[in-house]
């Protein structure tokens, strides 16, 4: 299952974008991540952040033929999705914060 992930916010304030595929994970992690992705609260913005300089993630999928978006604060990320998001530092491309 392919998803487009953009991480925004943080102290640096730059956006990091990557297209990630659950096929990049071990079979067990992939199964858990795909279940977590299907159960995300799609078409919703991130909850109001507490504190400052926290990350938030935008996840986009075209699964099933139509595009869906969701924004998650980093404390809302399901544990099962963390192995997939851990691929972001090595695969992500920096974009300007406004990009």
């Amino acid at each position: 299952m392919r998803v487009h992930v953009t991480r925004r916010g943080g102290l640096a304030g730059v956006a990091l974008h990557a297209t990630l595929d659950t096929a990049q994970l071990t079979a067990a992690d992939a199964t858990r991540a795909e279940t977590a992705l299907r159960n995300l609260p799609w078409d919703r913005l991130a909850a109001e952040p507490t504190g400052a300089d926290r990350f938030r993630y935008e996840v986009v999928t075209a699964e099933g033929g139509h595009e869906r978006h969701v924004e998650l604060s980093e404390t809302e990320v399901p544990d099962a999705l963390r192995p997939l998001l851990a691929l972001l530092p090595d695969h992500g491309q920096i974009r300007r914060a406004s990009g």
Binding site: R8, L11, V14, G51, A52, P89, I94, S98
Partner: protein
């Protein structure tokens, strides 16, 4: 989901509590969302009212203040939000862990700056313990304030950021987010969010300048120069020349470049540059006059959580006039600072 939520915003909490217990899931979710929002508004109003009351500080005959209460933890690369293993408490000898010692020293330098310059006793002005949580997450390229008394520091991913405890301005920045929360509690979005970020940079750079004994001309006015990885060199932000700190820096330097709906770290370049202009116009140390004017504005009860750049600018001018006089160099410098970034004062 959207329609019921909007309808319930004006309903009294009692009715919302009843709806939150009803059988219909959509209605229950909407009521819970509305209650959460309502709670934030009530909290903000209560905090604002408490600040306007100017409650007296407790009277004591003992000498208090001037001594931080630091505890540094090792999160052991977990993303747990609760403090991990205690590595160093106040007064203990240095640890073998460099990040732990950097956090300890950086929090100490920040406490010392706030106490010596403003006689502020810690984050809340009332001896709040300083809790630094190091080694947060795996290759975590960030440091943040959690809003609940903890400063988290990641080790960096080696590309965007390196060890975040290495930046004394970064530690000053994060601790200042706590100070802001206990003063104006600037809402973390829009112009008030950009102000929140800017005020953290303004005091973060002063903490660094104070620790290094730098005046306004010997400082580089760069934020994060000691924590950036190769992709963001030489720094995260430049207060002197916003938009030039690294290849991806898109901070505007004045209101002509204001980005509507922009991330709080983008538009913060505007008030950042205003402070730079004020401090360098006056010369000497940033904390001689510019810093105290900014601090007085932050602590002013009339600075509301949803303040705009203009609101903040007008309060800084008022404090400059009250403290130094209407025709003083300080007042003129503050007016010049906001004029330089095209924030109107009237």
């Amino acid at each position: 989901m959207t329609a019921p939520y909007a309808q319930h915003c004006i309903l009294p909490p009692g009715l919302l509590y009843r709806l939150a217990r009803c059988d219909e899931e959509a209605l229950r979710d909407a009521a819970l969302n509305a209650l959460a929002l309502d709670g934030r508004f009530r909290l903000a109003r209560a905090e604002s009212a408490a600040r306007l009351l100017q409650l007296p500080r407790p009277v004591t005959f003992a000498w208090i203040g001037g001594q931080p209460q630091r505890t540094i933890y090792d999160q052991q690369h977990s993303e747990s939000q609760t403090p991990g293993v205690v590595m160093r408490v106040e007064g203990q000898a240095p640890s073998k862990d460099q990040a732990v010692n950097q956090a300890y020293d950086g929090l100490g330098a920040t406490y010392s700056f706030y106490w010596t310059v403003f006689e502020r006793d810690s984050i809340d002005g009332a001896s709040m313990p300083l809790l630094g949580l190091t080694h947060y997450g795996r290759r975590y390229p960030n440091a943040f304030w959690d809003g609940a008394g903890h400063m988290f520091f990641g080790d960096g991913d080696g590309r965007i950021l390196t060890q975040t405890t290495a930046g004394i301005d970064v530690i000053g920045h994060e601790l200042t987010h706590g100070v802001i929360q206990h003063e104006a509690n600037l809402t973390y979005s829009g112009q008030s969010g950009a102000l929140n970020e800017s005020v953290s940079d303004v005091f973060g750079i002063q903490v660094k300048q104070y620790a290094l004994g730098q005046d306004v001309h010997s400082s580089d006015w760069l934020i994060g120069a000691d924590v950036v990885g190769p992709l963001l060199r030489p720094a995260l932000r430049s207060m002197k020349q916003p938009g030039t700190a690294n290849p991806y820096d898109d901070q505007p330097a004045d209101m002509n470049g204001y980005v509507p709906g922009g991330d709080v770290h983008i538009n913060s370049g505007i008030p950042n540059h205003a402070f730079y202009v004020v401090a360098t116009t006056l010369g000497g140390h940033a904390w001689d006059a510019a810093g105290p004017i900014w601090y007085a504005a932050l602590a002013d009860p009339q600075l509301r959580p949803n303040a705009t750049f203009r609101d903040f600018a007008r309060i800084t001018v008022r404090h400059a006039r009250q403290t130094y006089g209407a025709s003083s160099d300080q007042t003129h410098a503050v007016q010049q600072g906001w004029e330089a970034v095209k924030v109107p004062l009237c």
